[in-house]
């Protein structure tokens, strides 16, 4: 137990990095995922194609391969950025594919009459997407998006494998010094579980409050 308490500052620092990674990459993934979804439901064939290829590609590549490619490969072609920034961008790009899939299922769940009504009022594609379809789609996908968020939190730990000192890396480092794996890893595991539990709680509340009656 003392091993855990003695190294609380390092572990705390790691937790902060994990939270930063999670928050920043989720924000990026949400924006990018929204754009991809809009492309995938648009009447423009090329954009639909790009959206589909994007989702297919990133859902079928391991995140760690992308991280390794970006962190060790990109400097080879003269693209080098801060390690944390690189990790955030890669995780955001990867998770955007999952957000886009979740959002698209939500768009498909909106009943056709809603779209017809929007068009009957003379709304354009963008307007009906923004004012009619997306608000309803977002409400139905709160739970799936929450699951993507939890998966994203777990996935940020992969950044540890390319050198980001997040909670996972910090726990590992402290363990290498202290050789007290049980309290340290259990502590780190609990911190992740706590983040996931918070996300689950928030999405549960939101879902109940915003549920669409059908």
């Amino acid at each position: 137990m003392s091993a855990l308490l003695d190294h609380l500052p390092e572990l705390w620092q790691g937790l902060i990095v994990t939270l930063q990674l999670t928050a920043a990459s989720f924000a990026g993934a949400a924006v990018l995922g929204l754009v991809i979804t809009a492309m995938r439901v648009s009447p423009v064939g090329v954009l639909r194609g790009i959206g589909t290829v994007y989702v297919e590609t990133f859902q079928n590549l391991p995140l760690l391969v992308l991280l390794v490619l970006a962190v060790f490969g990109l400097p080879e072609i003269g693209l080098q950025a801060d390690l944390l920034v690189t990790a955030v961008i890669v995780i955001a790009v990867y998770e955007a594919a999952y957000i886009a899939e979740a959002l698209r299922s939500g768009v498909n769940a909106v009943s056709a009459g809603q779209g017809e009504a929007a068009r009957a009022l003379g709304l354009t594609f963008g307007q009906s997407l923004r004012h009619v379809v997306l608000p309803q789609a977002l409400r139905t996908v709160i739970q799936p998006i929450g699951n993507v968020f939890i998966a994203l939190t777990m996935n940020t730990s992969l950044a540890a494998a390319v050198g980001v000192v997040d909670l996972t890396a910090a726990a590992n480092r402290v363990n290498l010094v202290e050789a007290q794996p049980i309290p340290i890893f259990v502590g780190a595991g609990l911190a992740y579980a706590l983040i996931a539990a918070c996300a689950g709680f928030v999405t549960g509340r939101l879902e109940r409050r915003l549920a669409v009656a059908r």
Binding site: L47, L61, I77, S157
Partner: protein, 279 residues
């Protein structure tokens, strides 16, 4: 074409679509051109940096890695599915002392990163005299973490089988276990097959953690190769393409299976109560 967001386009909409098509295509081509220029400027496009990937020894090495990836994925999938089925049945058990631990396992393990489990197996277990062989250092944490995911898939599948099926089994005198084994599980298995395949894609992606364990699967083989020949970006791009080809085929299989799986019907009693207006 009936669509949620747009009607059959008229002349003006068709013009706008054409414009958007051109703009989109140009943007993608510009992005590709930018990437090629960046590669060329860094001298990464010269033939001698790519030619090695047209030779057999290089591919033999990477295919060995792919084979090791497949082996790790298949073994951890088998273990995770067996454990997942046991956990799902446990969560549905009538006995509290079986139900609670199974539920606790699933809920806790689902929220622990696989890499953290890998570190535990890699650095914590040896302290307690449990130093697993390299292969199992990758397979055990993957099986432990994926068992929870498979358990949830199986449980959803079992719950999707209509109550009447189980009741009918009990009515003809089968025991609880026989009903589960002979009536409910076969039907559930067909329904969860697509989800099982997509979860297996996720598991195959997770085997890239061999990079951390130094188990010579595909990504780690790529790392060794890149250290040896110095062709970093080329190697990792080729590795990524192999993963993409394999996983995209598996995902395609999942979709084909999904299209062939009979649609899960909503239990009739609920449907009737839900739509009194139309009746």
């Amino acid at each position: 074409m009936s669509n949620l967001l747009f009607d059959e386009p008229g002349p003006r909409a068709r013009r706008r679509i054409r414009i958007a098509t051109v703009v989109g295509a140009v943007a993608v081509l510009a992005l590709a051109a930018l990437a090629v220029r960046q590669f060329a400027a860094a001298g990464q496009l010269t033939a001698d940096r790519w030619a090695p990937y047209a030779t057999w020894p290089m591919w033999r090495y990477l295919l060995n890695g792919l084979w090791a990836t497949a082996l790790a994925a298949v073994v951890s999938a088998a273990l995770a599915m067996a454990a997942g089925l046991a956990l799902a049945l446990g969560r549905l058990s009538r006995r509290r002392w079986v139900r609670l631990p199974a539920a606790a396992y699933v809920e806790v393990v689902r929220t622990i990163p696989a890499l953290l489990l890998v570190y535990v197996v890699l650095f914590a277990l040896p302290r307690y005299g449990l130093d697993l062989p390299l292969f199992w250092k990758l397979v055990v944490p993957l099986a432990v973490s994926n068992a929870a995911a498979f358990a949830e898939i199986f449980r959803a599948g079992i719950l999707s089988v209509e109550r009447g099926q189980g009741e009918a089994g009990l009515a003809v005198g089968l025991t609880h276990g026989q009903t589960m084994r002979m009536i409910v599980l076969p039907q559930a298995a067909r329904r969860v097959l697509p989800s099982i395949v997509s979860q297996s894609v996720g598991l195959l992606k997770d085997t890239s953690l061999g990079f951390v364990v130094s188990y010579a699967e595909l990504l780690y083989s790529g790392k060794v190769l890149a250290t040896y020949n110095g062709l970093l970006i080329q190697t990792y791009i080729v590795v990524a393409l192999i993963y993409l080809a394999v996983n995209a085929s598996l995902s395609k299989l999942a979709r084909v299976l999904e299209a062939r799986t009979p649609q899960v019907r909503v239990p009739r009693a609920r449907r009737r109560r839900r739509s009194p207006v139309r009746a």
